[in-house]
Amino acid sequence: MLRFLIKRLLLGTLTMFAVSLVAFGMFFMLPRDAVATMCVKNCNPERLERVRVELGLKDPLIDQYTGYMKGIFVGRDLGSAQGGFCDAPCLGYSYTSSEEVSDIFARVLPVTLSIVIPASVLWLGLGIGLGMISALRRGTVFDRLAIGFSLTGASMQLYFVGGMLMIIFVYTLKILPVPHYTSLWDDPLDWASGLVLAWVALAFLFSAVYARLSRAQMLETLAEDFVRTARAKGLSKSRAYGRHALRAAITPIVTIAGLDIGGALGGTVITETTFGIQGLGRTAVEAVRLGDLPTIMATVLISAVFIVVANIVVDLLYAVIDPRVRLS
């Protein structure tokens, strides 16, 4: 297990390294000139050139890359125009937003977390719950409704669901405010009411997938001998299914959930666009549009970290759930 983990960590690092290289290379292939975008009315070629030098864009590519990566681990001096020395982990200074990228993240990461974490709790709960109940009541009306729900959900587009939710709850019934983000610590109620539609829309779509998956898993597990053993011991249905079947059925779901949540943390672009909320996803999209290298690098790296870490966490969770993995 330990060896396996070390191997996973090494591979994850290799992945991150490859991702950073690709992201960096991608920026230099982009047909965009971040510097030219920065000047509004009063540009001249000399000034543009000087800014390029100042930002280090004239350095050899390798130096630029190593400089950026070094900044993450030990910090680096960005020059007076970019606020001087940037402490590790330095994600650079945004060309277009005139602030340190870590400041941008401090702002947008809570937004994305606020969308993804409650939504994933909701979709996992709803999806797994529905799937489990519908597996236990296979063939009943409930089961068929649940299947219908999951197929409908799986066939919907987030922006369409989001749009319809807003039409219904915000514009027609007027029981919810227009989606927006407020910090949880400032006003929990406003935080929730501003994001609840995003949670519901995401949960609707994702829970559909989980309901299908967990229904199939549960059906498979219910056919396992150990569930029969549990019943033969005289355990109640709820205990036999809730403890014995659920725990075994949940393992493959953990894998997918880990990857989904990891992926979602890396950016919920469509959700953010649909509900007009500025999180990591839209920040990333705008960074690419503006050719803002430090922000591109940081967003790509952060979302990749989420996925790589999610992968490793899933492996760890596996070990927690399944002692066979733990001890092998």
Binding site: M1, L2, R3, F4
Partner: protein, 337 residues
């Protein structure tokens, strides 16, 4: 006896595994130095409990697994390290039947295609056409030749096993390794398949390596029997020797543990072995059976007993303290307590 069809010497297979938290490399000594011969037209039974290496041995004989050491000579030719192409002509004489009648047939192929596969792979075009040849084979194994275009899922377990046998016969082999060919079948069907194999052996002069854990079936089908324990042959000999005059304590214990209908009503002297078979990852030193042997002494832990024949007999045994010759393992009629 004539020149052996198959000569196995020192056949060994170690699997590398990682174990423990550190993932240290270790090797599972699945098969550890086997010697035996199989002659044309005869059956060698290979018995032993799970994990004794009999299946691994079978797989190595047909080159599905690469031996770690030792040699396999087939028809006088060393095939231990032959490449796929060089192996091809020999494959025709050396086939295998598998245990699981469900997984051994490709569910997406018709019976005809399954049986014809060895022909196709080896580019053999029999006179009269592939179809005719396949239908002959089907008939040979007791299936309706009209079933040529049917799919495996339409057949029962016994019938599927017949299809598997037909496939093995397609190249007219001289030796068939039969790996637990009946253990997945219902009792009433087992007898059908065993009878079929016996008929085929008589008709086609086939040699078999018959691998099974069921001692009664092995006895019924094999003239010679090798008993394996933890990757080693502990006793090998003629059927009568092994079943009537076993010399290795393990063979005796094994035989006495078989619940035999025929023994109903008789009180038998049961040898109760304690514990389980040790892991082949770390087999006991010396004699591998010593941990469960009631006769074990100090020497058993230090010296590995060689497989030796009693003078004037083909029966070989690997034991420091073999049973005396002539002790018959008959059901002993003693009054129960």
């Amino acid at each position: 006896m004539s020149e052996a069809l198959l000569r196995v010497r020192g056949l060994t297979k170690h699997f590398a595994v990682r174990q423990g938290a550190t993932g240290a490399k270790a090797s599972v000594r699945a098969v550890d130095g086997l010697d035996f011969d199989v002659h044309a037209g005869e059956t060698l039974g290979l018995v032993g409990e799970s994990g004794c290496g009999k299946t691994t041995t079978g797989r190595m004989l047909v080159r599905l697994l690469e031996p770690t050491a030792g040699s396999i000579e087939f028809q006088g030719r060393d095939i231990t390290t032959l490449g796929r192409r060089a192996m091809r002509p020999l494959r025709q004489d050396l086939q295998i039947i598998f245990q699981d009648p469900y997984s051994s047939l490709n569910p997406r192929h018709t019976v005809g295609k399954i049986v014809a596969m060895p022909l196709e792979v080896n580019g053999i075009k029999p006179a009269g056409g592939v179809k005719q040849r396949v239908q002959e084979l089907l008939e040979l194994v007791g299936l309706n030749p009209e079933h040529y275009n049917r799919f495996p899922h339409e057949f029962s377990g016994g019938q599927r096993q017949r299809i598997g046998i037909a496939r093995a016969l397609a190249l007219r082999p001289k030796l068939i390794v039969a790996d637990e060919p009946v253990s997945a079948l219902d009792v009433s069907i087992q007898a059908q398949v065993v009878n079929l194999l016996r008929d085929l052996q008589r008709e086609l002069d086939l040699a078999f390596v018959f691998i099974a854990h069921d001692l009664a079936i092995v006895r019924h089908f094999s003239r010679r029997v090798a008993v394996m324990y933890l990757g080693k042959v502990v006793e090998i000999g003629d059927r009568a020797d092994i079943y009537e005059r076993p010399r290795h304590p393990y063979t005796r214990a094994l035989l006495s543990a078989v619940p035999d209908v025929a023994a109903f009503g008789e009180q038998r002297q049961r040898i109760r072995l304690t514990g389980d078979v040790p892991t082949p990852l770390n087999p006991p030193s010396g004699c591998r059976f010593r941990t469960r042997c009631w006769k074990a002494q100090d020497v058993c832990a230090t010296e590995e007993p060689p497989l030796v024949a009693r003078e004037g007999s083909a029966q070989q045994v690997a034991c420091h303290f073999p049973e005396a010759v002539g002790v018959v393992n008959e059901h002993v009629s003693e009054v129960a307590a």
